[in-house]
């Protein structure tokens, strides 16, 4: 029994030891470096996916190597146990305690952001309004009946769809059967008229899978579906993500709109782009600043304000940042905002302060102690 206790204590000691910290940090360094180099060839998203958001990496397809999530989890255990141990120590160094508490907060904050934060974007032309932002790369099948200012939209997450899948749009009873779904598709038009062509707004007659883009935001999804209404004949539909307008069809006496689009996130307010402005450095093509004048309408209260680089809009837990812009030759301007919703947003701010304060405390205390000894 006592042997078991000994072993347990030894395991605990090892799990809380700085040796394990060194191993974790070293593996993390390897991952960080490897992922950075990997980005050059495969892009940021692939690197995040393979190295930073993963628990396990298979090198060459079969050699397992711990992923960043795994290493961070071990570090979290290591750090927590170390801090628990500290409680039982007679003399605790205040600086060391602060540093490690701060790092613990930072890791937890990172986890909250990783699992709960929402990131999307919103592109508006001058004069346009919106009350929903769009995902960067996730797609959805959206269905609604009436087309107007207010719509009741039913949506299905499109990315997991496989040929043969059947999904039902809630209360409408409308069922879609997937014939093809490509995360990145190329659309083709038949040069000869087809007798039984699927319904498509742009006259697309077939789809082909394309190689996934380097960054998933560059993918354009495409789907070939058969829509089975509760009563009446089924309708074959081709949806291509490049076309923002929906396919319209009638089934069971109802008029439907069906679209394949970037997943939408409803916003609790309406944003309208009033004016977009950019300023160049004199005599150059280098942008000095760009800013968007927007009108925000929350619960019937309107206000006008400016979103610019380094000056975001914060409203109801959402933050809108000036991300980029597009300008056509005819002067039409679009402004793109990054939209973020993150409950853990302030945690890194606080933990950074705690860690840095702890470090300064620790090293200055050390300096003072040594100076005192030297004089003594």
């Amino acid at each position: 029994m006592s042997n078991g206790n000994d072993n347990g204590a030894r395991a605990m000691g090892w799990l809380a030891s700085p040796k394990l910290t060194v191993v974790c940090l070293a593996v993390l360094m390897v991952l960080t470096f490897w992922g950075t180099v990997y980005q050059v060839e495969h892009g940021l998203f692939a690197a995040q996916d393979r190295f930073y958001n993963s628990w396990l990496i298979l090198v060459g397809g079969f050699v397992p190597f711990p992923g960043t999530q795994f290493v961070l989890a071990v570090l979290l255990v290591n750090l927590s146990l170390y801090l628990v141990q500290l409680v039982f120590k007679p003399r605790v160094k205040f600086g060391i305690l602060l540093i490690h508490l701060g790092i613990l907060m930072l890791l937890l904050g990172g986890a909250i952001t990783h699992y709960f934060a929402e990131e999307s974007q919103l592109t508006l032309q001058e004069g346009e309004s919106a009350s929903a932002s769009a995902s960067y790369h996730q797609w959805e099948l959206a269905l609604w009946k009436q087309d107007g200012a207010v719509r009741d939209v039913l949506a299905i997450d499109a990315d997991p769809l496989q040929p043969g899948d059947r999904r039902t749009f809630g209360a409408t009873g409308l069922q879609v059967e997937v014939e093809q779904y490509h995360r990145n598709a190329r659309a083709f038009q038949s040069t000869v008229p087809l007798t039984n062509a699927p319904l498509s707004r742009l006259g697309v007659t077939s789809l082909q899978a394309a190689r996934p883009a380097r960054e998933p935001a560059g993918n354009i999804a495409g789907a070939l579906l058969t829509v089975h209404p509760p009563e009446g004949a089924p309708v074959r539909v081709i949806l291509f993500g490049d076309d923002v307008a929906p396919v319209e069809f009638a089934a069971g006496g109802e008029h439907y709109h069906l679209a394949l689009r970037h997943r939408r996130y409803p916003l609790p307010f309406v944003v309208s782009l009033v004016d977009f402005e950019r300023e160049m450095h004199p005599g150059t093509e280098v942008a000095r600043s760009f800013s968007s004048k927007v009108e925000v309408s929350t619960d019937g209260l309107d206000r006008t304000l400016t979103i610019s680089m380094n000056k975001p809009l914060r409203e109801r837990g959402y933050t809108l940042y000036q991300a980029s812009y597009r300008e056509e030759a005819d002067g039409t301007q679009w402004s793109t905002f990054a939209v973020a919703r993150n409950y853990g947003r302030l945690i890194p701010y606080v933990s950074t302060g705690v860690v840095v304060f702890g470090m300064i405390w620790h090293f200055v205390a050390m300096l003072v102690r040594r100076a005192g000894r030297g004089v003594a």
Partner: protein, 662 residues
């Protein structure tokens, strides 16, 4: 790349440079003192600067140097614009790749070539550059990049040679008809008039020429034919010489100020009295230069400067014209290098002479040793130690002044590009060395300060052509509190780790040379430890502030982006060292080795990351940087491999016993 915009005009201009140079008849006499010309304000690279700076930037861009054959850049520029034929033989075009010479069929003759040597190849170079242009930037080979770079430089140079043609006599405007000459009140001297001479008199005959347009040339008399010829020459020249450098004159249009070249001002026709006078002074400048009249040259330059400064809207560049001139003239970083070098030599001499002089040190606060007794260290002879400290302090004065001047001129924190970060890292490293000297008083700090300052400033000079120009920065990098603090702190982190690495070298060498000098080793180990701690604190803070900036700017704190990862690597490496030390996995010797290897980590984060990215447009820059980086890494690894086994374990002292694991 400006090349695409300027290609067709550049091609045309390059082709025509030959013609101009053959036709130009001005004498090769010149003015000796160009300082008045150098003081003129000009808009370039998105800001207003003195011509002196602009000349340096152009020369750096062409030749990779900021002076030509010991002559200030402004003398070279004056020759290019006022007497192009005399400048054509000066070797200012840097060719980085021998294959370029081979392709152009130019006989290899050093690294730099003159316009005269290259102008005959302009057609071939143009074809090669256009072919290179067809490829995506990432896919271009180093030789193709060099074609493009050289071609862009030749085109820019050719444009410069045209910038003052409006003021120089030209046969196109020679008036043979005596009646016309009398009517236009042209003097009867031998030199033909310039474009400007005729332009200023064109009001008097424009209506007449317009009336001629509907009639047949056979019906014109000699006077009418001459006037028509002059008028069409004026029109052709003003069409041809558009969009040329140098933007010397401010112009108010639509409520906004725009700086334009004299050509464009004449072409737009927005001439008020003041700008008319200014163009006249520009012509005076060109003529006085050609006939070596120094007093007239200075007078015209002074009048022009006063008028332009009074007329232009206030801007940072205009306010700091004098500061920038001072910065250019004093070359503060060059002076700093000299003094660091001297201090370093004095340190070395002091170390050679460190025979038996031992001293007890009572105030060495960050020594790692656990015993409480005062420790004994070797000391260099007192006067040499002091002399070295004085040398470092003397170097620090111009070093600091240079950084402050750059901040004043740019209105930004001192890190706007790689060049500027080197200057700042060197500065912080020197301050850290001085701090160590203050505590330890054993020349270690002075050694670190002088060697660090000298080495980093010498490396920075390699990037001067990229960074000394103080260009503008894109919107997202524009002045922002979080960004500024992030860049400053992360750079301080770099400096701490670099200085720690330097001290690590000293420790390892010391452990080989004097393994018995335990107190000396302990003192150095303490310095390595303290500097690494400094590096850790600031790189952690800098990394986090980078996250704060990213969160403030686009809503995500951390995204595993290469630059973030680079900073993280430094933090991780320093943390590993401290934890390994606490876990007794390494002693002072291992810690010193870690600090030396930390230099590699810093270089990777600081420079290596930039090389991963795309968009570094100059072959010489990228390959030179990559080679330098690779060489430094190889050197550090070899250094560790050689010194670690030699540094006897007997030189090690045990780590602190009282340390709490963490």
């Amino acid at each position: 790349m400006t090349f695409t915009r300027g290609t067709s005009r550049g091609m045309r201009a390059a082709g025509c440079a030959l013609a101009v140079i053959l036709l130009a008849t001005a004498a090769c006499a010149e003015v000796a003192d160009l300082s008045a010309f150098g003081r003129l304000p000009v808009q370039a690279g998105g800001r207003v600067m003195p011509v002196d700076s602009h000349a340096r930037h152009l020369l750096l861009q062409f030749s990779g140097r900021s002076s030509h054959q010991r002559e200030p850049a402004v003398n070279w520029l004056a020759r290019v614009v006022f007497a192009p034929e005399a400048a054509a033989t000066q070797k200012v075009f840097l060719v980085n790749h021998p294959e370029v010479l081979e392709a152009l069929d130019v006989k290899p003759d050093g690294r730099r070539y003159s316009f005269a040597q290259l102008r005959d190849t302009s057609e071939k170079l143009r074809a090669l550059a256009e072919a290179a242009q067809q490829h995506e930037e990432d896919d271009r080979s180093p030789v193709e990049k060099e074609f493009l770079r050289l071609y862009a430089n030749l085109a820019a140079y050719a444009q410069l040679t045209f910038s003052f043609q409006f003021a120089l006599p030209h046969p196109d405007f020679a008036v043979s008809n005596a009646a016309v000459r009398a009517r236009l009140q042209m003097p009867d001297d031998a030199a033909p008039p310039s474009f400007l001479d005729v332009y200023q008199r064109a009001q008097g005959f424009s209506a007449e020429v317009q009336a001629l347009a509907g009639t047949k040339p056979e019906t014109w008399n000699d006077e009418q034919a001459e006037l028509f010829r002059l008028s069409s020459a004026l029109f052709q020249w003003s069409q041809f010489y558009r969009g040329l450098p140098i933007a010397l004159l401010p112009m108010q249009a639509h409520g906004q100020e725009q700086w334009v070249s004299p050509w464009d001002l004449l072409g737009f026709g927005f001439l008020d009295d003041a700008s008319r006078r200014e163009i006249g002074w520009l012509q005076d400048l060109a003529r006085a230069y050609g006939s070596s009249r120094q007093v007239d040259f200075n007078l015209a330059a002074h009048n022009l400067e006063r008028s332009v400064v009074a007329r232009a809207q206030p801007s940072r560049g205009l306010t700091h014209l004098k500061t920038e001139l001072l910065y250019n003239r004093l070359q503060p970083f060059y002076r700093a290098k000299l003094f660091y070098g001297l201090a370093f030599l004095v340190c070395l001499v002091g170390m050679m002479g460190r025979g038996g002089a031992r001293d007890s040190v009572t105030g060495a606060p960050w020594l790692v040793g656990s015993d409480r007794s005062p420790i004994t260290v070797h000391r260099s002879p007192s006067f040499l130690r002091r002399a070295a400290v004085v040398g470092v302090l003397l170097a620090l004065v111009p070093h600091t002044a240079g950084i402050v001047w750059r901040m004043m001129i740019m209105g930004r924190p001192p890190m706007t590009n790689l060049y500027a970060t080197f200057l700042f890292v060197a500065w912080i490293a020197v301050l850290l060395g001085l701090a160590i000297e203050w505590f330890q008083r054993n020349s270690l700090g002075t050694l670190l300060a002088s060697a660090g300052g000298l080495a980093l400033l010498m490396v920075s000079a390699r990037f001067a052509d990229q960074g000394d120009t103080m260009g503008v920065v894109v919107a997202v990098l524009d002045s922002n509190f979080w960004l500024s603090t992030h860049v400053v702190t992360i750079t301080m982190g770099y400096a701490g780790c670099m200085a720690a690495g330097l001290a690590g070298h000293v420790y390892l060498l010391q452990a080989i040379r004097r393994p018995e000098d335990d107190p000396g080793l302990r003192a150095t180990a303490g310095a390595v430890y303290g500097l690494t701690a400094f590096g850790l604190i600031f790189s952690f803070l800098g990394t986090m502030l980078g996250g704060v900036w990213a969160d403030q700017s686009w809503g995500r704190f951390w995204g595993w982006d290469p630059k973030e990862n680079g900073a993280l690597l430094i933090v991780l490496w320093c943390s590993i060292l401290f934890h390994a030390r606490v876990a007794r996995m390494i002693g002072p010797r291992g810690f010193a080795v870690g600090a030396v290897l930390g230099v590699i980590v810093v270089l990777m984060a600081w420079i290596g990351i930039n090389l991963l990215g795309v968009g570094l447009h100059s072959y010489g820059f990228t390959s030179g940087l990559a080679r330098g980086l690779a060489l430094s890494i190889v050197f550090e690894v070899l250094f560790v491999l050689v010194t670690y086994p030699l540094a006897k374990k007997s030189g090690d002292i045990p780590g602190p016993k009282s340390q709490v694991p963490g």
